[in-house]
Symmetry: D2
Subunit: 139 residues, 4 copies
């Protein structure tokens, strides 16, 4: 299957459709059923002690599967998350960005399923893992 | 088991330990293994169309199980989420708060498990359900 | 919404479509978006020590949401589980049946979502909780 | 970290501790934080149409993370599953075994977390994915 959206197209789409959060994320790489996204960690993502908050990690996992899905099917702003399971495994390192590596495991007519590993930049052991399902609106 | 923290004590604890987000939440009721929390929906929680964002719903579920756990064990800022499973079932109504009803199903020495139903205020059908596990630090 | 299948019809449907496992389960009560199912615990469900195995608990949760869905939509053998999240919270009591209480939280055109609490008969604290999503085939 | 149990030791441990199910599984490969396990599909695992049942897929995911954990910590029969999230993505092929590839993402003092991809033998697209948490008993 070929990509329906490039990295630049996904970045512009995010800026247009989700202007409140587009500045939080940098799309680093887009491939077949894969995407890598960076959370540009700022003060609003932090908890006391400098660690990144759970909701910010969730938001990163969520946008990453969204973008991986759109890269394959084209700009469908109305794709919605139906389920997420997330394991928080280690405290993120203070003062560094988070990097999410997503792989789509299924891209069906109605549902897409992706899994995500999230890393503090520069560390090998993942901070969190997540799996998400998106419902794709009928054409 | 008797409550270790009242509603007022939980509210003050949230303000002291999590000043960035305490203003988002109003603890409405605290009971034995139960708590009800309101997300005071503001512009920063919204997506285009006026619906509450997924990360905001996650944040509400997360804080609710945290507060239900602390009500039973006392102020343990270091309790951490280890797992969350969340189902997004309906689009939240625009312009109204979200209400989370949490019940703790397990309160062990090491882990607590809670389930949460989240409603748009005034509607009967839930917007989302979540189940979360917290790891409780050893004394 | 009215029920499309009674308890007896669901029992017969299970016997016809899933003869391998129908004898494991007794449907105890069927209501609007609700069902209660008993796992008739036998030797094949046990682990050393007399506790019910994880896969048997999963099977009970799974069939319960299936039956709750069919009660509402009619006999659709082809409805399939797409996701399950399950928390194992306590060791089941040896030598007693398990009882699953299921509530459907969503019954959409394409997906149904149910939550299940599972109890060792006679005990108040649940052994497990689960949430499952079924995909409903198009007519 | 070095392995505490070889493939042969894990196989014998399974036969001794779980004689009811040990014959269902063949441990194919054991590595650092990794294991590959085969479900020897028999009639008792099937549903009408010849597809492998959901509980059998769950059982495979469950035993695989158990074995990956024991390989790292040694024979701890009492490690117990606390959480599983599983996505069923494709119907298994009739008449072939299932292969589970597990990777441990975290091996803590109290909890281990593993993720599993499950394949019908010979097919590239996974049938299911799962993530599981085990609680490790204190020494």
């Amino acid at each position: 299957m070929s990509l329906k959206m490039t990295r630049d197209e996904l970045t512009r789409f995010l800026e247009q459709e989700f202007p409140q959060v587009a500045g939080d994320f940098a799309i680093e790489e887009v491939g077949d059923m894969r995407v890598r996204v960076r959370l540009l960690v700022g003060v609003r993502h932090l908890r006391p002690g400098g660690t990144v908050s759970g909701p910010s990690i969730f938001a990163l996992a969520d946008v990453t599967v969204y973008l991986a899905t759109l890269a394959m099917i084209g700009p469908e702003a109305l794709a919605v998350t139906t389920n997420c399971s997330i394991d928080f495994m280690r405290k993120p390192t203070a003062g560094v960005d988070l990097i999410a590596e997503c792989r789509l495991l299924k891209l069906g007519r109605v549902l897409s399923v992706g899994e995500v590993l999230i890393f503090s930049e520069g560390l090998e052991a993942p901070v969190a893992r997540a799996s998400l399902t998106y419902a794709i609106p009928p054409k």
